[in-house]
């Protein structure tokens, strides 16, 4: 089957990979690029475990065909830390025990980053709605919401 050659900036690096037209970005990232941080929880856009940022917009990568990202800039959970220094969200998730099994964590971190990039001082309700596309079955969301609140405070320098 013919495979398309795709060039995109992934986590800051120009990256080339091949994918069939029907392959999802999620599978291309996982199988071809070797970035398995984004997870498949459903494959139908309903769980958010596969969330990545494409050109600064949070997107469920299971619903994007790989060839669509030609020339785009993509951020996955593997690109959140800066030269080994954790993003405040990552640090706050750790300190606030905002993960149990951790399968949903990459998606939540990306969705929360997208929120805080746009809204540095969200209310609890705004956080809950911004994360409503991400399913977590372990935590009941309490500690996740608190971790995002804490990270927002830290990022605002409070």
């Amino acid at each position: 089957m013919a495979r398309t050659h795709i060039t995109a900036v992934v986590n800051g690096d120009e990256t080339e990979f091949l994918a069939e037209d029907g392959t999802s970005l999620l599978n291309a990232l996982r199988d071809e690029v070797g970035l398995t941080g984004a997870k498949e929880g459903c494959g139908t856009g309903d769980c958010g475990a596969c969330s990545v940022m494409i050109d600064e917009k949070v997107t469920t990568s299971c619903l994007v065909f790989a060839p669509e990202v030609q020339g785009a800039t993509i951020l996955t959970v593997e690109g959140l830390a800066d030269s080994g220094e954790l993003h405040p969200l990552q640090q706050c998730f750790l300190e606030g025990a905002a993960l149990q099994c951790g399968i949903c964590t990459p998606g939540f971190l990306i969705a929360a980053k997208a929120l805080l990039d746009k809204n540095p001082d969200p209310t609890e309700t705004e956080i809950r709605y911004a994360l409503a596309g991400n399913l977590c079955r372990c935590t009941g969301y309490d500690k996740i919401v608190r971790a995002v609140q804490e990270a927002a405070r830290e990022m605002r320098g409070q």
């Binding site: 029907g22 996982r30 139908t44 959140l80 993960l99 149990q100 099994c101």
Partner: protein, 750 residues
């Protein structure tokens, strides 16, 4: 501060450091089941039955085998026929559930599997496997399955637990019965009696990670399996059974597990992946789609339950009669046994009969789900108790206090309770500001309680002291919710070294002794006790080595704060790192193993308080405030104790309000996606307030009881009782969805 039960003076136990496996999980490095890639690996795909009940007439794999990239196709005939080999009935069921032989018993039942070089090729080949079925009539619920003349799933099924044994086969696998006292007398003493009937639907554990397994088989019969499960020793045992090999030929490595809640104690993909890998001579990865997870794994039972209870005017329960039927799905083994034991276990009731039936039907075989069986029974019993409290005008906490099981109470299922903390959870709710917070219009408040045994079972641990005095703690219990942290905290406490100096890991089946599954809330209790035992052996060894170094008797040496100290201070202390550095001269490497079979489980109780707001126009119920009080015994790792409490509650809220399996007339699941099977999301919920109660379990070195399960027992009744308080409607069928609430409101106004 004085060292007391409440303040035992621990340095590490009860603190909230960062978990050992956290960094990998926030950076995307952690390897879950589907993340492993091996050179030359093939992708597999499973072929599933589209019918709820059918005889397999033939399977033609020739077209699939001829397709590009296809390396192996297997069917039931590629596995030993355990029934013909006279195997144990429960093993035959495990094997037939993994891959059907003669009949398919539910939509989604596996009939074949393929492996090919790409995902797309595997999918195409799976579609090309031609299966001819003879469709049989099916039964989907306990009502249908128990009806006169119902079609049978298993022609030879004679109900167990009935004397004399019935002569005719049926879909009822077994009956359970618990009785005490005299029911008629008990109801005669009651001032108020309430009787109601309840139904609940099957619900799925809903872990976000679908099942996944990779197998790499060698030509000599050995194979290595990587899988996401709650027990890789269990997966090894089941796989060996299904494949007809010795367990020692299989090595199973536990991947990180993305949630299980009981649903990953069952085998699905592992033996198929091994057989495909053997046939293809290459590693094979099998991963389920979400659709397959819903159709063919989990769920827990749908049920029908009748409860009749009576109380005297002072709130004493005089009698209880409980009848329940639990769906087992395709093979016997619903959790009705546990349901029968837990249903009224919170209370000291003089007269009762609890009767239950395990009923097979044409749905996926049920799997354990957090306190299996208990939540449905508690929904029924705690709803009726709420009605009784209202009828006699008693506070819902007070009526529970008036009947609460305490130390010495003869549990309804037999033994006398040792020290338990049920009363303390009730008091914690009553003392909390939520209990008296103001309620707005259309809001209501509900209380409910729950009991779960907690399990012990078998565990092994190995502790190694590294050459610089740090330690590695090795267990074989997959870490599903932060247990590596609790292992490291207990080891730090025992060894007297910092938490950060300890690395806790989960090892494969060849690297550590046997461990039962991560289930029954048992890991911190039992595997934790094994870790404590191993650490204590290490400390004994360290004291002996210090004694040797100082040339004194070992009883002259104490282990304090990570140092060997001479009792009279006559020697400069030797730290763990000093002793580790000299280990070569004092007897070699410092290491210890401990294995045990449970040392006394500690029962868990939870009481919960729920405030809801019901919109009378739409029927939508919103949880506006929630408090859960649970007896942890001892919270080794309070962050993750709260996590278990909150997670259990929210699963329960989903079960109460939204979640249900919907099947069409043909027995095909209509909502196998997270879009149509809606689990709670962040915007549905408030914060979940936690009150950790600590009444230590006398049988555990740190007082641990286990916290994973009991939190899901009360929520359905707590929500239902709150709805009743808000709109004066008693909901008896789950889920209490907007449609059902509106129906009930309409009925009420008629």
């Amino acid at each position: 501060m004085a060292i007391t039960e409440e303040n035992p003076g621990y340095k590490w136990v009860g603190t909230r450091p960062i978990r050992p496996d956290g960094l990998e999980k926030v950076t995307g490095k952690a390897q879950f089941g589907a993340d492993l890639m091996l050179p030359g690996m093939l992708f597999g795909k499973v072929v599933r039955s589209p019918h709820a009940h059918a005889r397999i007439v033939s399977i033609d794999t020739t077209a699939a085998e001829a397709m590009v990239g296809v390396k192996a196709v297997i069917t039931g005939s590629d596995f030993p026929d355990l029934a013909a080999n006279g195997a144990h009935a429960s093993d035959i069921d495990v094997a037939n559930n993994a891959i059907a032989r003669e009949k398919v018993l539910y939509e989604g039942h596996v009939v074949a599997a393929v492996a090919a070089t790409t995902r797309d090729q595997a999918e195409a080949a799976a579609k090309a496997v031609e299966v001819t079925y003879e469709i049989l009539p099916h039964v989907l619920t306990v009502d249908e399955a128990m009806a006169e003349g119902a079609p049978l799933l298993h022609e030879g099924m004679i109900t167990k637990g009935v004397d004399p044994a019935p002569e005719e086969p049926s879909n009822v696998a077994s009956k359970i019965l618990h009785e005490r006292g005299d029911l008629d007398q008990g109801f005669g003493e009651a001032d108020v009696v309430v009787e109601r009937e309840f139904t609940t639907k099957p619900v799925h554990q809903g872990y976000i990670e679908p099942h996944a397994a990779v197998a790499d088989a060698n030509s000599d019969g050995r194979a290595h399996i990587w899988c996401s499960s709650q027990g890789h020793f269990q997966m090894r045992a089941y796989s060996a059974t299904v494949l007809g090999v010795s367990p020692g030929t299989l090595k199973v490595t536990a991947a990180e597990i993305g949630g299980g809640f009981g649903g990953k104690t069952v085998i699905y993909l592992e033996p198929l992946a091994v057989r495909l890998s053997q046939r293809a001579g290459r590693p094979v990865k099998l991963v389920m789609d979400r659709d397959e997870v819903f159709r063919a794994t989990g769920p827990t039972s749908g049920t029908r339950i009748r409860v009749k209870m009576g109380v005297s005017q002072d709130g004493k329960i005089t009698a209880a009669e409980v009848w329940m039927a639990y769906e087992a799905g395709a093979y016997s083994g619903s959790p009705v046994g546990a349901a029968g034991m837990t249903a009224i276990a919170c209370y000291d009731i003089p007269n009762f009969v609890v009767e239950g039936y395990d009923v097979v039907c044409n749905k996926p075989r049920v799997a354990a789900y957090r306190a299996p069986g208990a939540p449905m029974a508690a929904f029924a019993v705690e709803s009726v108790l709420d009605d009784l409290a209202r009828d006699i005008g008693m506070d819902p906490i007070d009526i529970r206090l008036a009947n609460a099981a305490v130390e010495g109470t003869q549990a309804s299922y037999g033994p006398k309770f040792p020290r338990i903390g049920f009363v303390e959870t009730l008091e914690a709710i009553k003392d909390h500001p939520n209990y008296t917070a103001d309620l707005g219009p259309n809001q209501g408040r509900g209380v409910a309680a729950g009991f779960w045994f907690n399990a012990g079972m078998m565990s092994s641990a190995t502790v190694h002291i590294n050459e610089n005095g740090t330690a590695t703690v090795v267990t074989g219990s997959p870490d599903i919710g932060g247990s590596r942290q609790s292992m490291a905290l207990m080891a730090a406490e025992e060894l007297g070294i910092p938490y950060e100096s300890i690395k806790a890991v989960v090892a494969d089946t060849e690297t550590v002794g046997f461990n039962d599954v991560t289930g029954g809330s048992r890991v911190t209790l039992a595997t934790g006790a094994a870790v404590v035992d191993a650490c204590r052996l290490i400390v004994e060894d360290l004291r002996a080595r210090a004694a040797k170094t100082w040339d004194v008797e070992v009883d002259q040496v104490e282990w304090v704060d990570g140092q060997a100290q001479h009792v009279d201070g006559s020697q400069p202390p030797l730290s763990l790192s000093d002793l580790a550095a000299k280990s070569g001269r004092t007897g070699g490497p410092i290491s210890a193993n401990a294995s045990l079979n449970s040392r006394g489980v500690g029962a868990g109780f939870s009481t919960q308080l729920c405030d809801v707001e019901v919109d009378p126009e739409t029927g939508v119920t919103r949880v506006v405030r929630y408090l859960t009080a649970q007896d942890a015994g001892r919270a080794i790792s309070p962050d993750y104790v709260e996590g278990q409490m909150q997670g259990g509650v929210v699963q329960g809220i989903g079960w109460a309000l939204n979640e249900e399996y919907i099947h069409d007339q043909d027995g095909v699941m209509e909502n196998p996606s997270f879009l149509d099977y809606r689990i709670p999301v962040a915007s549905d919920l408030p914060m979940i307030d936690c009150a950790i109660v600590e009444v230590p379990n006398p049988a555990h070195p740190y007082g641990v009881r286990g916290v994973g399960e009991v939190g899901i027992v009360p929520p359905m009744a707590a929500v239902g009782n709150a709805i009743n308080d808000a709109i004066d409607v008693r909901m008896t069928d789950l889920p209490m969805s907007p449609v059902r609430i509106l129906e009930a409101l309409t009925e009420q106004s008629d």
